[in-house]
């Protein structure tokens, strides 16, 4: 039976922000629909309304002309609307089977049979009796999908599903989604990745600032047209000129980096060796959870490992803590903006002051020199085009993009010789990503070096001079980036080997 989902005049207003402004859309089964928009465009709010997590202030949802009252996630489930969230809704310490059985109405035996049928039908291979925390991101997503499939959904909503997947996993996902679509499930695919829209979806609705700005057939669209609709202005193209730096000095060299941990949430690192030259960008690719966290923490000095040698500007720094390393002109931008890079409850200038190396004179005789810090913060805000000039603002009120600009600004204003960043554009919108990419390229142009640990292959190919892949704590050989293709990276990131 055909499914017809209609959203009519949905509005949702948060204090100081209109998340959804009179949104009306129509979807029919047999097609894959894309909902495209930057961060903060209102996509997530809309899907949360559709899945019953939040209720709209205004507007209605119709499924096959039946007015749905979606006041809790249960209502969405009852009405056969399935949802795979960007941040997985799984219970990490429970087994896969327990995760799937928690909202099942049947007994465990027949549930297991049904799950196995689904696994077989779609060629998924997942061990049902291991705890979810042992699974890769791609497998976790499959568990989420199975959870939806068990309820034989009419509508399946995928919220930014590829942000944690490898190229191969993405391809597999697309194959599965097309299968579901052929079976009559209506698929709504939320993303800010333009290429995915073009390769997977039949129709695309673009949202900007809470409003639907365009609905069109994807065959009539190109990357550029969609990007312009999404951002609302023309975007400059950035392309890095690759540094041919054979004769330059090595500024940073890591030897015999090993890390061993008992913690099942951590990955062991096995004998990593690499070096970075002046003005060069070394990209480290990999699916998250393959040791990037640990690597970043070791490079920044949060974790000190024995027997590792880290040479920076001809000095051995392996035993130094992050503050001491900063004094040698290293800078760090961790992945988690909210909890690692900044303290959200503190004001902007206070966050800037956290980075207190000796030369900054932020503190005199144990007292805070507020005036100096504020001046310094203002300079960062204007130099790095952060969308506010109020240094008294609490950092939690900055959007992800602005917070990232602030953090990068804080790190770069000291003119460091080496910047190590980990997923600097994670979860940001096109405009902010562009800005940060430009900034990172500018650093290299000024003969400063960067190490870019990222899960975004496109970003790595755009910014790196050399690329290596980390998989299960081991580093592949380091390749010049002109020899690297997305396919090659995908193979290495999935644990395969090339040559």
């Amino acid at each position: 039976m055909a499914t017809d989902l209609r959203i009519s005049n949905i509005s949702k207003i948060y204090p100081g922000c209109i998340a959804n402004d009179n949104v009306s859309l129509q979807f029919k089964s047999g097609k894959i629909y894309a909902l495209l928009g930057e961060n903060g465009a209102g996509k997530s709010t809309l899907v949360k309304i559709l899945s019953g997590v939040i209720s709209p202030d205004n507007g209605e949802v119709f499924l096959n002309e039946k007015n749905l009252k979606l006041s809790s996630p249960l209502d969405a489930k009852k009405n056969k609307i399935g949802m795979v969230f960007q941040h997985f809704n799984l219970f990490e310490t429970l087994s896969v089977f327990e995760n799937l059985s928690i909202d099942a109405t049947e007994d465990n035996k027949s549930l297991r049979i049904r799950i196995n049928e689904i696994l077989k039908k779609y060629n998924f291979s997942i061990d049902l009796d291991v705890p979810v925390l042992n699974l890769s991101a791609g497998q976790k997503q499959k568990v989420e999908i199975i959870r939806c499939l068990l309820r034989s959904p009419k509508v399946l909503i995928m919220d930014e599903p590829t942000s944690v997947l490898t190229e191969q996993e993405t391809e597999e996902l697309f194959i599965s989604l097309k299968k579901f679509c052929d079976e009559g499930i209506l698929i709504i695919y939320i993303t800010h990745k333009l290429k995915e829209v073009l390769s997977l979806c039949d129709e695309v609705a673009v949202m900007r600032k809470g409003k639907v700005v365009s609905v069109s057939q994807t065959q009539n669209e190109r990357v550029e047209t969609l990007a312009n609709k999404m951002v609302g202005q023309k975007l400059a193209k950035i392309k890095k000129k690759i540094n041919i730096s054979k004769n330059k000095d090595e500024i940073f060299k890591v030897k015999h980096l090993n890390f061993y941990s008992d913690d099942p949430f951590e990955t062991n690192l096995i004998n990593l060796n690499f070096s970075v030259k002046k003005g060069e960008c070394l990209g480290i690719a990999g699916i998250s959870g393959n040791g990037q966290n640990e690597l970043f923490q070791i490079l920044s000095g949060e974790i000190i490992t024995p027997d590792t040698s880290i040479i920076f500007r001809n000095k051995e720094i392996a035993k130094l803590n992050p503050k001491q390393r900063r004094e040698y002109l290293m800078a760090f931008s961790p992945e988690d903006r909210i909890s690692q890079a900044a303290v959200p409850e503190l004001k902007i200038y206070e966050n800037v002051a956290l980075n207190n190396f000796k030369s900054s004179n932020f503190f005199e005789k144990g007292l805070v020199n507020e005036k100096k810090i504020k001046e310094h913060s203002k300079k960062i805000l204007s130099d790095f085009s952060v969308n506010t000039d109020n240094v008294e603002l609490k950092s939690q009120f900055l959007s992800g993009g602005n917070l990232q600009k602030l953090i990068l600004g804080r790190e770069l204003i000291t003119a460091p010789e080496l910047l190590i960043c980990y997923n600097p554009t994670w979860g940001l919108d096109v405009g902010a990503i562009n800005y940060i990419h430009e900034t990172l390229i500018k650093i290299n142009d000024q003969e400063k070096s960067t190490i870019l640990i990222s899960t975004d292959t496109e970003e790595l190919l755009k910014l790196s001079d050399k690329i290596a892949v980390i998989y299960k704590g081991k580093l592949s050989k380091i390749m010049p980036s002109e020899e690297v293709t997305p396919e090659k990276l995908g193979v290495l990131m999935g644990g395969g080997s090339i040559d």
């Binding site: 209720s55 996630p73 969230f85 219970f91 429970l94 327990e98 928690i102 925390l133 913690d263 099942p264």
Partner: protein, 310 residues
């Protein structure tokens, strides 16, 4: 020879009796914590259970009413905690500490008129078997029904958490309340139930002290057992069976060191008194070393305030 053996039997029986309040309170708190709620008010709920059980026994002269009443009083006082932390979203730690202080104060006030009143004898089961079988008699028989209940409780708790649907829901809520809520589970309701259950068990643990173990009312008679129960839950890494082991070790060493003090060992009394705490922690740390298992058993959201998006 036979005298010694029967003495050891009696000793083990008394160790079991002394560990009952710990097992009850810790098993209750374990369920509460598994749902992600950290209730530090165990001591307060126990002492309220102790005084209300004893007062009801004196007033009604009915032990059944006294036991049920003590559990109800535990439920009521934990309801205050539940309302504050789950509905008004107050901090778990501060609220729990306040609950303990409140419970100790309230019990002292309510208990004024009950000081010095002798308790009533609590019926014991299989008392004839206790005398007739050497060694095992005093271990297995002649205890109150509460003791038998306490010793089956950790196994029931384990079964509940691992094998039942409801147990799965409790663990899921403790692991990730946001995910649970998005799955349509009523997180607040589950947590309320777990808090109230914890309160009932703590109330019962208190009543065991004032009605059975030392049948009388003394101000502050729980004497820190609530805190020990809390520590047991953590050091047993949220495993009910390990809670039982820990409670027995604590009870055992408490009794043994009393005997050692009586015999007059040349070890400082202070050290002997500290021994139960020390040994319990050491043993539980040693048997719970597997960091993988700890990760899997620890309620990830423990003590964190959950509020629903609207």
């Amino acid at each position: 020879m036979s005298l010694e053996i029967s003495f050891i039997g009696i000793l083990i029986g008394s160790i079991m009796a002394s560990s009952v309040p710990l097992i009850l309170a810790a098993s209750g708190e374990l369920i509460t914590e598994r749902s992600g709620v950290l209730n530090l008010g165990v001591e307060g709920m126990m002492i309220i259970g102790a005084i209300s059980g004893f007062a009801l026994m004196v007033i009604t002269d009915n032990l059944f009413i006294a036991i049920v009443g003590s559990m109800l009083s535990g439920v009521i006082i934990s309801l205050i905690f539940g309302f504050l932390t789950q509905s008004l979203l107050t901090n778990h730690v501060a609220t729990g500490l306040a609950l303990t202080i409140f419970g100790i104060g309230l019990s002292a006030m309510l208990g004024k008129n009950f000081v010095g009143i002798p308790g009533k004898e609590f019926p014991i089961l299989f008392s004839s078997l206790r005398e007739s079988i050497p060694f095992f008699g005093p271990i297995l028989f002649g205890h109150s029904i509460i003791l038998y209940f306490a010793f089956t409780l950790p196994f029931l708790t384990n079964y509940f958490l691992k094998k039942t649907k409801l147990g799965l829901v409790v663990r899921a809520v403790g692991d990730s309340p946001v995910s649970a809520s998005n799955q349509g589970i009523n997180v607040i309701l589950v947590r309320y139930c777990c808090i109230l259950y914890g309160g009932a068990m703590c109330g019962l643990a208190g009543a065991y002290l004032s009605l059975i173990y030392t049948p009388q009312w003394i101000e502050n008679m729980t004497a820190g057992r609530g805190w020990i129960a809390l520590a047991l839950v953590v050091f047993a890494t949220w495993s009910p069976i390990k809670v039982l082991i820990g409670a027995l070790i604590f009870g055992g060493i408490t009794i043994l060191q009393l005997h050692m003090q009586a015999i007059g060992f040349r070890i400082p009394v202070q050290f002997l008194s500290a021994l139960p705490y020390l040994m319990t922690i050491i043993v539980l740390v040693v048997i719970s070393r597997d960091s993988r298992k700890i990760k899997l058993n620890t309620p990830t959201s423990l003590g964190r305030i959950f509020y629903k998006e609207k």
